[in-house]
Amino acid sequence: MDVTIRVKRQDPEAPTGEGRMPYWQDYPITIADNATVLDALIQIREDDDGTLSLRCSCRSSICGSCAMRINGHAGLACKTIANTMVQDGVITVEPAGVMPVVKDLVVNFDLFWEKIEAVDPYLKHAGQEPEGEYIVSNEAMLHLSGVTACIMCGACVSDCTVLEVDPTFLGPAALAKAYRFTADPRDGDGDGVSMERLWGLSEPTGIWDCTRCNECVQVCPKGVAPMDRIMAMRDQAIQQGYDNNNGARHTDAFTESVGHSGRLDELRLPIKSVGGFANMPALMSYMPVAFRAMRRGKMPPIAHKNVENVEAVRRIFQRTEPEPPAPRVSINSPFG
């Protein structure tokens, strides 16, 4: 198969400032029909251009080295069959996003690992370890293995729409890693509850800063579904009583408003989210937004009205509400 691999390159050592800017280079090559995008890049590196830099190693989706943007979306080059990606004879390859480029397709992972380290990424068990193995259910371990299957490739971080604008967010990879502990019956106290972790994760930069855009779920090559894990930790945190924060209050206020009137009360939602009128500084910080909204005629109505047939909505809520929150991962504590 003849194809052009269009690579976004960057060389920090280029002699002029302009030369150091990213540029596109086309590599017209012939590859096997079942070749992966990585096979194509390796062929370029080996046969055509030794100056092309990229990371890769295992060729079988387990080492996590070769995450990059292929036709605009993050993925593993070794898991992507080239002939499924050709558009007008071209496959576009760029370095992963969010992280700064070192050279060509190689990005700097320092911030990625700092965030992983920030969640204390190791099992913390309060009390004595058992002599033999911990006795836990297979279901609990299989559930966790769905998360420990994460290979830290950075695809989710690359395409995270929050990290793109807010580098302080812990991000999908680190939060999925955190969930791997908060859902582990061996972590935390004797009942497997990781109180300290959930408290920390409820702080700003943590679980409440995700905007639920679902990009991380889409691009993860291992089915880890980081966003779903973040949502599960929100449930865990609220269940443990960590509801005194904007995120948890926002969730409550949102549910309450829709459940009561059938629509969102956009005026009261932010007030309730920050903790009511007691939190004047936070409310004051909304004033510029409120003035701009007013000037443009986008101020929500002061008098909030119910939707027609609100009873139907309330019935839906009544029918779904009594369900208790999803139980934590099943635990057979060795401590009784």
């Binding site: 100056t51 060729r59 079988s60 996590g64 190791y122 033999g132 193995e133 297979n138 420990t148």
Partner: protein, 562 residues
């Protein structure tokens, strides 16, 4: 002025063995650092899929049974004292890993679950789905973070510094910046993995280039049993990517083109779960006899059912779909024997110490020897954590009474900078590293594979001579400093050529068939003449050969049948 880098214990390589060694050395008080050419979680320990062996006493298993299976698997070339150490320690090391947080699959009672694996009479392989190595590696990295060991990530060791026969440190290239550094160390533990990329194809990751073996060999170390190269029975055609033995452990069949389970001819008792050398030879025999399809036989999982495959074999199913376009739930997948592991390596004692003062080795790059002529599946992960820990502990203890070796740091660093600069400055018209590596890999895979004979091995030895001449002029096309992988690959190729020499010379020397070494011109095992290790040291005209006895404690060599 760069800071003065020095450590009591410096571990080279951050896979399972390396991280285990570093954590142990740090825990027993040594100033410890770990250096790796890739980030630790990119290491090749990731690729171990099937599991880790241990005989747990409270399951009614016995370490002596595990030891016997290992010794028989090794075709009696493994040193029995070392195998005893490994099998006795296995249970405790396994439970350690579980306590660290590995998400091992469980049985119905919530205890660690097992699966059957090749060459063993009972199921003692503990596992995390079909990505056990990755699960262990990431947990070990968590512990490394916790330990506070200093990490030099994406640093590539270019030379081992020796002073009066004792190790004094290493020089290393910081890949991101292109800076060359010198790190002084009282002891250096090599955990650099195998050298599989000198074969083409191979299941091994592209980073598996025999760096540690090459460095130690060039410093006067001993490489032992290098001819013992494992061909794994189930690798995908084309890329050569691994399909775990776990498939057969869970009950998959091997079939020829007529659907016949041919293993009944070769191993009527163990069938598909005979040891790897036996199964690979059987497959190659069938393929050579025209009973395969396009150079492959078939791995049939269709009778295992979707539920089992999704729970226990989901990752290899993905690989089959991604790379072979076949879903093993619905159809058999084409597989063939492929180069996978090297039993040989740097000769060490049971504490990881080599014949060079202060130099240790553990994991695949080492040869303790616990695998002898053929490694059992799921013994490699065990090897890494048991002997990684022992090497770390011993190195830490030993350095307490030692001082750093005195030498001219500036001159040593300048000399190494010159050597690398000369390489960078070579004219661009020579053959590239990639062409030389491909030719080497094809020659090795043609003549030093499942079946070998004198004529073929000699052809490869002659090829290697030519390749080394070409290597002397290998150019580096990338002249920059930042993340210059072109330079790293050119340096790695030198290590690979050293390893290839010793493999070919070892294979020619051993005029018998034992374990993974099958000589069609000497088809029988010959204990009288060849029940010993072949040791290779660097000589003036290639590897010099000597021998060491095999340690036998309580298991007398006997005929090997499965």
């Amino acid at each position: 002025m760069p800071e003065d880098l020095q450590h009591d214990v410096l571990v080279v390589g951050a896979g399972l063995a390396g991280m285990r060694a570093a954590i142990a050395a740090r825990a027993s008080g040594a100033n410890t650092a770990i250096i790796s050419k890739v980030h630790p979680v990119r290491s090749h320990s990731n690729a171990a899929q099937g599991g880790i062996n241990a005989a747990l006493l409270d399951r009614g298993d016995d370490w002596e049974d595990h030891a016997y299976d290992t010794i028989k698997g090794s075709d009696f070339l493994g040193d029995q004292d070392a195998i005893e150490v490994m099998c006795r320690q296995a249970g405790a090391s396994l439970i350690d890993m579980e306590h660290m947080g590995v998400t091992f699959n469980r049985d119905d009672d919530g205890r660690l679950g097992t699966r059957a694996f090749g060459g063993q009479r009972r199921a003692r392989t503990f596992f995390v789905g079909d990505f056990t190595g990755q699960a262990l590696l990431h947990v070990m990295f968590e512990q490394l973070i916790k330990s506070g060991v200093r990490r030099y990530e994406e640093w590539f060791v270019t030379s081992l510094i020796m002073e009066d026969g004792q190790v004094a440190g290493v020089t290393a290239l910081e890949i991101r910046t292109g800076e060359l550094h010198l790190i002084r160390a009282k002891s250096v533990i090599f955990c650099t993995g195998g050298c599989g990329r000198l074969f083409e194809p191979s299941t091994n990751a592209l980073i598996v280039t025999g760096d540690g073996m090459g460095l130690v060999y060039n410093a006067g170390g001993q490489l032992m049993d290098m001819e013992m190269v494992q061909y794994h029975p189930t690798t995908l055609a084309g890329s050569g990517v691994l399909i775990s033995e776990a498939a057969r452990g869970e009950g998959a069949y091997l079939r020829d083109k007529n659907g016949h389970r041919f293993m009944e001819k070769y191993a009527p008792n163990m069938m598909e779960l005979a040891s790897r050398d036996v199964v690979s030879r059987a497959e190659q025999t069938e393929i050579n006899a025209g009973n395969g399809i396009d150079g492959c036989v078939l791995l049939d999982c269709t009778h295992l059912g979707q539920a089992l495959i999704m729970e226990k074999l989901s990752q290899i199913r993905e690989i089959g779909i991604d790379l072979a376009g076949a879903d093993m739930i619905r159809e058999p997948i084409p597989i063939r024997p492929g180069m996978h592991y090297i039993m040989g390596g740097i000769k060490t004692n049971i504490d990881g110490l080599t014949n060079i003062g202060g130099v240790y080795a553990a994991g695949e790059c080492a040869n303790v020897s616990v695998h002898g002529g053929n490694r059992l599946g799921a013994n490699s992960l065990l090897d890494t954590i048991v002997f990684g820990e022992r090497a770390g502990n011993h190195a830490s203890d030993a350095t307490r009474a030692m001082d750093f070796m005195e030498f001219d740091v500036a001159a040593t660093l300048a000399r190494e900078r010159r050597r690398i600069q000369e390489m960078m400055d070579r004219p661009e018209n020579g053959d590239r590293w990639s062409a030389i590596r491909r030719d080497m890999g094809e020659s090795m895979n043609r003549n030093v594979a499942v079946f070998r004979n004198e004529e073929g091995i000699e052809e490869t030895i002659s090829d290697l001579h030519d390749l080394r001449r070409r290597y002397e002029n290998v150019p580096v096309h990338n002249k920059g400093k930042t993340f210059n992988t072109d330079l790293v690959f050119a340096l790695e190729l030198g290590y690979m050529l050293d390893c290839a020499d010793t493999i070919a010379v070892g294979a020619l020397e051993r005029r018998e068939s034992r374990g993974a070494q099958f000589r069609t011109d000497y088809p029988d095992r010959n204990d009288e003449e060849w029940l010993h290790h072949i040791v290779l040291t660097k000589g003036d005209a290639g590897p010099a050969i000597s021998e060491l006895p095999v340690t036998i404690t309580q298991w007398t060599p006997e005929e090997r049948k499965y």
